[in-house]
């Protein structure tokens, strides 16, 4: 990997972090409404895996989707505008935090019904298989989503039809306040893929290079016709499930423990230790990311509200 690419990935991770820290403040100020699920702590997962896709490969995820949006190339200002419900947002202010998408970037969105997007992912992959497109679909979802029927139907189907799909489970240890072992019959989530005869593995989701390398290899195999693959990324969310989570289910020490393995810190050390980037260069990226977010907020705040008539637009394609 070239230095330029490393610096870009680092920049993406910091941009996501700054964007979400700012989003949390804007939420408190009442400028963002609804549900806001922060990705802070998990940035290495989407940044790593999406860096390993080709632009024509398809991405779909759940509602914890701001990071994925940035990684797919939606400008921070457009993400911020959507968070504030502005007409300039990627979903024209109609989707909000949980529903970011840009189909021109093959990003098919954040989806708010747990597990409901997994069958859609099977369909994206089916579309490409059917049309002989050498594309791969990457479907991201949480540990909690592996307990709903949608998961089992979609994963089973992917094997039966040998669909070109990477099932990427982001195991952040909890589904809302429920720890994995309190909700899943098998605490080892890849066992579920094993049950459907799907090759699988686990990766350290706090380490972007590990995620990326695993994803590169897996996506290549899938593209060559290898069929579905299941990857578990072990990670952690530092913030509550969404804003206003009482967090009665975990201790601060646990959070601190995981914070010692901050994915941005890990990547920084990796780059500096291998002399792939200097502290100064990385500091400059930090500043650039901050500037990017400041501008994004300015853009979003000065953007227009959706026009009243847009309420009735896009209900159907045809009138």
């Amino acid at each position: 990997m070239e230095k330029r690419e490393h610096l870009d990935l680092y920049f993406q991770m910091v941009t996501i972090r700054r964007l979400e820290e700012r989003a949390a403040e804007l939420y408190q100020e009442g400028k963002i409404g609804g549900f806001l699920h922060l990705y802070i702590g998990q940035e290495a997962v989407s940044t790593g895996v999406i860096s390993a896709r080709q632009p024509e490969d398809r991405i779909i995820t759940a509602y914890r989707d701001h990071g994925v949006a940035i990684n797919c190339g939606i400008p921070a200002r457009v993400v911020m505008a959507e968070l504030m419900g502005k007409a300039t947002g990627c979903s024209k202010g109609k989707g909000g935090s949980m529903h970011m998408a840009d189909v021109t970037k093959n990003y098919f969105g954040g989806h708010a019904i747990v597990g409901s997007h997994l069958p859609l992912a099977s369909g994206l992959a089916l579309g490409d298989l059917y049309q002989h497109n050498p594309r791969v679909t990457v479907c991201m979802f949480g540990d909690g989503a592996t307990n709903i029927g949608f998961f089992h139907e979609a994963v089973n189907l992917s094997k039966v039809w040998n669909l070109p799909i990477l099932w990427l489970c982001e195991n952040n240890q909890y589904g809302m306040g429920t720890a994995v072992e309190r909700a899943s019959a098998v605490p080892e989530i890849p066992q579920k893929a094993e049950g459907y005869g799907i090759p699988n593995s686990r990766v350290d989701g706090m380490n972007i290079m590990e995620v990326r390398e695993a994803a590169l290899e897996i996506i290549k195999k899938i593209r060559e016709g290898g069929g579905p693959y299941f990857l578990e990324a072990v990670t952690y969310r530092y913030r509550g499930h969404s804003m206003g989570d009482p967090e009665r289910y975990r201790k601060p020490e646990e959070i601190h423990h995981w914070q010692e393995n901050d994915p941005i810190g890990i990547y920084r050390r990796y780059l500096v230790d291998r002399q792939l980037a200097s502290e100064e260069e990385l500091n400059q990226k930090d500043i650039d990311a901050q500037t990017e977010i400041d501008e994004a907020v300015q853009f979003a705040e000065s953007s227009p509200e959706p026009a009243p008539e847009s309420l009735y637009q896009d209900v159907f394609v045809e009138p």
Partner: protein, 323 residues
């Protein structure tokens, strides 16, 4: 009498019924350790324990399906759907099982289950998380559908629902949890399937329920300033539907406005007005007005969302059109 919130009223009903009957238990997502995502079951887990306040995986079909099974063994489960939008995940169990088993097996199977679900828009949760699809469930014979609009009714109706031998969908409105109202100190029950006059009046009949009651009460206060006295009939239960108080009121006022938060198309207003046309045609002095949600999925943007939802002003305007 104490003035408590809707949240407290619902919580008290659950607590009292669990204290009264060990066969009553709760299951659902985040009902235990978390204390309920709307804090209705806060403190229950510590008091009743994990056997009776059961945190489930994210598995709506299994939450409802297993509650039905447990009910068939004589238990009285209260199954919670974090929001009514997730009822669509469990639709088979609600519609094909809960609503059918008693009838289809000739009355042998009895399933005293309560499904609690949070409905309603207005919180910027966007299209999939903001629906008020209450009426859909009232379409299916065999399922009782209850949706209170005051703390008093919330408590009395939930206690009756838990004691009922029929499956009951009990719908709570997400924006009413903080609403305060008078609730008696001692035990009381409110009957299922009975409408109630929440405000007497003589000039127009407003038929509504749940969040619509809140809108209508506020509208009625404004209308009174202009000398218009609205009588408000709160359905409280969509199935069984008690129309007698509606007819009685209508025969007096000869005018009706029907207010619901859900989509107007094929909505409660359509049903109620059709019944008025059928049963009280000779008393109609003006077209019946229906107020409901615009026919769009709810958008995230606050202004657009509020445009789509029925407002107090819409009710006032609707009344003034016919009075």
């Amino acid at each position: 009498m104490a003035r408590i919130t809707m949240r407290e009223a619902i919580s008290q009903a659950l607590w009292e019924e669990m204290e009264r009957d060990p066969k009553v238990f709760i299951q659902g997502e985040e009902v235990g350790v978390w204390g309920g995502s709307y804090a209705v079951t806060r403190g229950f887990y510590d008091h009743f324990g994990g056997e009776r306040v059961r945190d489930t995986p994210i598995s709506e079909s299994a939450i409802i399906g297993s509650a039905i099974g447990a009910a068939l063994t004589g238990l009285r489960p209260v199954a919670e759907l974090m929001t009514i939008n997730f009822a669509f995940v469990a639709m088979d169990h609600i519609v094909n099982q809960a609503a059918k088993l008693h009838y289809m097996f000739g009355g042998q199977m009895v399933l005293p289950i309560v499904i609690r679900a949070v409905s309603g828009g207005g919180r910027q949760l966007a299209a999939t998380h903001s629906q008020t699809p209450d009426v859909i469930f009232a379409h299916f014979p065999g399922l009782k559908v209850v949706a209170p609009g005051t703390p008093y009714d919330a408590k009395g109706l939930l206690k009756s629902a838990i004691r009922s031998d029929d499956p009951v969908l009990y719908i709570e409105h997400a924006t009413l949890y903080q609403m305060r109202g008078e609730v008696p100190d001692g035990e009381y029950l409110e009957p299922l399937g009975k409408s109630k006059i929440q405000r007497p009046g003589k000039d127009v009949t407003i038929v509504t329920y749940s969040k619509g009651l809140d809108l209508s009460m506020k509208a009625a206060t404004e209308l009174a300033k202009d000398g218009i006295e609205a009588e408000i009939v709160d359905l409280r239960s969509l199935q069984p539907l008690d129309m007698e108080p509606v007819y009685e009121s209508f025969k007096k006022t000869n005018r009706a406005v029907i207010v619901e938060e859900g989509w107007r198309t094929f909505g409660i207003g359509a049903e109620i007005s059709a019944r008025i046309y059928e049963e009280a045609f000779d008393y109609i002095d003006a077209p019946i007005v229906r107020i409901g949600q615009k026919q769009v999925p709810l958008p995230y943007n606050r202004n657009l969302e509020q445009m789509a939802l029925p407002q107090v002003e819409d009710v006032i305007k609707g009344v003034k059109e016919i009075v």
